[in-house]
């Protein structure tokens, strides 16, 4: 007899995500559904506005990868108008992107994903002296892992637990058998959780130096970057470099060490050794190292064929809405996307928690569409980025991946797992942090002979413009698509990393990466589905990003049939 498990809200993510699974008598997942439960209609709002405001508005799609949409939207407009921005502007945008990555990936691993790996309660029984020794196994010079500091961390957490009121740690999954760190390892990671709170602020300050603030920086415009004074100030440049050093140090001595530790402790934990069940991967070019040279190169792997990485062909991307809360005749290219909301709600049924409103898997069930490449579902994100670049023979990536595998004693196959996805994010952070120094030096060299940061864009209101931008955002390849007519936005679509990963099943019955990743997973206790939460978190969901609609043909939204008593 199969049982339905409902998980809503999936916490420690950006936005609103519901996941449901069906388990068999052995508590093994046989079916899975991923649903976004919020629609905001931002692209509808863009219609008719000046393309110059697009960046600032689309930035509000997401406050976590806060800078990604700002840049991608601005660059889509530049692409449409044929604006070539100065080299300094490219470097500054890239440095802001690096700062964002360093911030975002640290916060994801420690504060969002961390509690899936770290049993806070177990850390209380650790021996701090032993833990300090254990930390030396994973780094030659561990951060925040000396005996004294570990003792203080333990005392601090113990104080909280003793009250019986755990605040944000209350009513969680402590003691679950899939937590595999020893008490000492848990204590080390917990100490880094607290230390990372401090370090992430410094990373955010890096972004604010050239961006004005973080989240939601405000220094890029169609045509370039506005923070020319900061760029020309030696004090400001050094401020960035100093903060970079602090954050990079933490990434290499703590984040990297903790992943090596996790690889050792969870190397035999079955629930994290699957989870990559879609074998096509996409990534974009990003992180400029010199004019025309990038740290990561774009490409696509179809059905696990690592020997034949292809260039992305933007013309064959389609979005399917068979099971999404929209109406459409068939899969559509982003330039042509017509989207009419068609909300159908939930259906009531028995679950492990009693009767609840649940996803109707036969019908429509999410505000996220299902993008497909050559009709294939595709995973995007740090893992996809590293796989594409590894398969392409990008030497920087090959060395980093081989280095990590050698360090952990794991085979290449280990990358195709939940653990591998989480490790790939760390490795990507290390590479981005290192490469940003090359970009920084390139900027220093360039500003000695060129101080330009902006070219004025021209719009001819008699012309129709079409353009797109593809960048590699922290959660994977992000593309924005725009059509400009009469000098105003006529159509706008964002095909977002989490849309690729979180979308529902398509017309051909093919599941997206989230849903596929859960099939075959065994749960220890279906009423406390930590294993599901951990796998979903390994993708780093960003739901507000993923939900988009723009309907430039219909001026009014569709009609809705909703039972007013249903909620």
């Amino acid at each position: 007899m199969s049982k339905r498990v409902v998980i809503d809200p999936i916490t420690r993510i950006e936005g609103h995500l519901r996941v449901e699974v069906e388990v068999d008598d052995n508590n093994v997942i046989t079916k899975a559904w991923s649903s976004s439960t919020l629609w905001r209609g931002i692209e509808v709002i863009l219609k008719g506005r000046t393309p110059m405001d697009v960046g600032l508005i689309v930035q509000r799609i997401c406050g976590v990868c806060t800078y990604s949409h700002y840049r991608c939207g601005t660059e889509a407009v530049e692409n449409a108008l044929g604006v070539k921005i100065p080299l300094n502007a490219k470097y500054l945008r890239s440095l802001m992107q690096s700062s964002l990555y360093m911030h975002d990936h640290i916060v994801h691993f420690y504060h969002l994903h961390g509690l899936d790996w770290v049993d806070v309660v177990s850390a209380l029984s650790a021996d701090p002296a032993l833990a300090a020794k254990v930390a030396m196994n994973y780094s030659d010079a561990p951060i925040a892992a000396g005996e004294g500091e570990l003792k203080a961390v333990q005392a601090r957490v113990k104080g909280l637990v003793d009250t019986g009121k755990l605040g944000p740690f209350a009513n969680a999954y402590w003691g679950n058998g899939t937590y595999r760190f020893s008490p000492e390892q848990n204590l080390i990671a917990l100490s880094h959780y607290l230390k990372a709170l401090e370090v992430q602020r410094v990373a955010a300050e890096m972004l604010a130096i050239f961006g004005g603030k973080s989240p939601h920086p405000q220094s890029i415009v169609v045509g370039g970057v506005t923070s020319v004074r900061d760029m020309l100030s030696p004090a400001r440049l050094q401020e960035w470099k100093q903060k970079h050093a602090i954050v990079q140090d933490f990434i290499e001595r703590a984040y990297q060490a903790d992943i090596v530790m996790a690889a050792e402790a969870f190397g035999t934990e079955a629930s994290v050794l699957g989870g990559v069940n879609v074998s096509s991967f996409l990534c974009g070019d990003d992180f400029i190292m010199a004019d025309g040279e990038f740290l990561f190169n774009q490409g696509v792997i179809i059905k696990g064929d690592l020997a034949n990485v292809m260039d992305i062909n933007p013309d064959i991307i389609r979005e399917d809405v068979t099971h999404a809360w929209y109406k459409a005749d068939g899969p559509q290219h982003p330039y042509e996307g017509t989207t009419i909301p068609d909300y159908t709600g939930f259906v009531e049924r028995d679950t492990v928690y009693g009767k609840l409103p649940t996803i109707d898997g036969d019908g429509k069930y999410s505000w996220v569409k299902s993008p497909r490449y050559q009709e294939e579902p595709v995973e995007v994100g740090p893992l996809a980025c590293l796989l594409v670049n590894y398969a392409r023979g990008n030497q920087t990536v090959v060395n980093a991946v081989d280095g990590l595998l050698a360090r952990t004693g794991l085979p290449l196959d280990a990358l195709f797992t939940t653990l591998g996805r989480t490790a790939a994010r760390m490795l990507q952070t290390v590479l981005v942090g290192q490469a940003s120094l090359t970009t920084f030096d390139a900027l220093l060299t360039n500003i000695q002979s060129d101080e330009s940061t902006y070219v004025k864009p021209e719009i001819d209101s008699d012309k129709v413009y079409e353009g797109y931008s593809m960048i590699e955002a922290p959660r994977g390849m992000l593309s924005h698509w725009i059509r400009i007519k009469d000098g105003k936005v006529e159509n706008y679509q964002a095909v977002v990393p989490t849309t690729w990963n979180a979308g529902p099943v398509d017309a051909n019955g093919k599941m997206g990466p989230y849903e596929a990743s859960l099939i075959g997973l065994k749960l220890e206790d279906p009423t406390k589905p930590l294993e599901v939460i951990r796998i979903i978190h390994s993708f780093d969901p960003c739901m507000a990003c993923s939900v988009h609609v723009m309907d430039y043909k219909k001026h009014t939204l569709g009609q809705f049939k909703i039972d007013p008593n249903g909620f």
């Binding site: 409902v6 998980i7 809503d8 809200p9 999936i10 916490t11 420690r12 993510i13 950006e14 936005g15 609103h16 519901r18 905001r40 209609g41 509808v44 709002i45 008719g48 506005r49 110059m52 405001d53 600032l56 508005i57 406050g63 806060t66 504060h111 203080a152 104080g159 605040g167 944000p168 209350a170 009513n171 969680a172 999954y173 992430q200 602020r201 300050e205 972004l207 604010a208 130096i209 004005g212 603030k213 973080s214 989240p215 920086p217 405000q218 506005t226 020319v228 004074r229 020309l232 709600g345 679950t351 609840l356 940061t453 009423t527 589905p529 939204l557 809705f560 007013p564 249903g566 909620f567």
Partner: protein
Amino acid sequence: MDTHAALYKQGQERLDYLRQFAQRQPKSLQQKMADIGISRRDFIKWTASVTAMFALPLPFSNLVAEAAELADRVPLIWLHLAECTGCSESLIRTDSPNLDSLIFDHISLEYHETLMAAAGWQAEENLEHALETYKGRYLLAVEGAVPTANNGAYLTVGCKGHTGLHIVKEAAENAAAIISVGTCAAFGGVQAAAPNPTGAKGVHEVVNKTVINLGGCPPSEKNIVGTLMYFIMFGKLPALDMFNRPKWAYGARVHDNCERRGRFDAGEFVEEFGDEGAKEGYCLYKVGCKGPYTYNNCPTERFNHHTSWPVLAGHGCMGCSEPNFWDDMADFEKPLGRQLLHGIDATADTIGAVILGATVVGIGAHAVASVFAKPLEE
């Protein structure tokens, strides 16, 4: 009794009230700070800076200190509605890191979807537990607008499939105070911009209670934490402006405290991003700065540990702490005085007319007049 003395007394009474409640933690705050290496001296310095931020006389720093020590009695429930999580991201960037994170730890954070360990059914249990246990005593912070079209169906949260509209109404019912964190919760924000497809509204429009509005997209970490501290200290809402924004943070115009104000008065303007004026730090009014129409403390407090703010980074203020700024201030790179509304609302004449008529008549008129009265070198 003068106003300050009365306020001080009120603060003391409030703290006496809080002292009745059981301590959540066995150790004193002071002891805990010592454990993690924060000295009493650092703590006093911090209380003085918070006191100054509220524009209160120094003796109030005693109250700030006492309030911090009693803060763990105040349960905080933080809801996420139609939002982008930018306000939570701002919250986690609080500066004076150790100390602020300590304060944050010691407010009893009962529910916050971005930070809490529990998920799904267990998370919902935590919310229900907090609403019941701390009835009438919890602080409610809301991030994000309330979608109201189609009975709120554009947002559901939780296993029970309740709408955001339902949840916020229920949580507001027994809240001691309600704080809308950010322009979305306060005024509807980006999703409420024309044509507002989801009927997004500010929290105060759907609950029958006073709501403190922290404008800003997002508000600075200081404006969020400072407002929480004010409530903890005095057990009442701070003085509010006409949009229910705390005056201590939103009492002054961005323009008046702007570091480039001297350039404005001298008629020195950036004509195009990246030009010589931009390198010299000239006024950004002509490339769209909305500082003259915007009330916030960005120029004095800045963001990210005082690192920067948009004007320092060479981009005009976009007016993000004002109601309807996405529509009223749109075409952000042009001065309000000159531009037409974007195509959606062709019936209005000029943005300037809308804004000036609605809110800041004298000020806006002054700003526009003084710019164009100057002999400008175009």
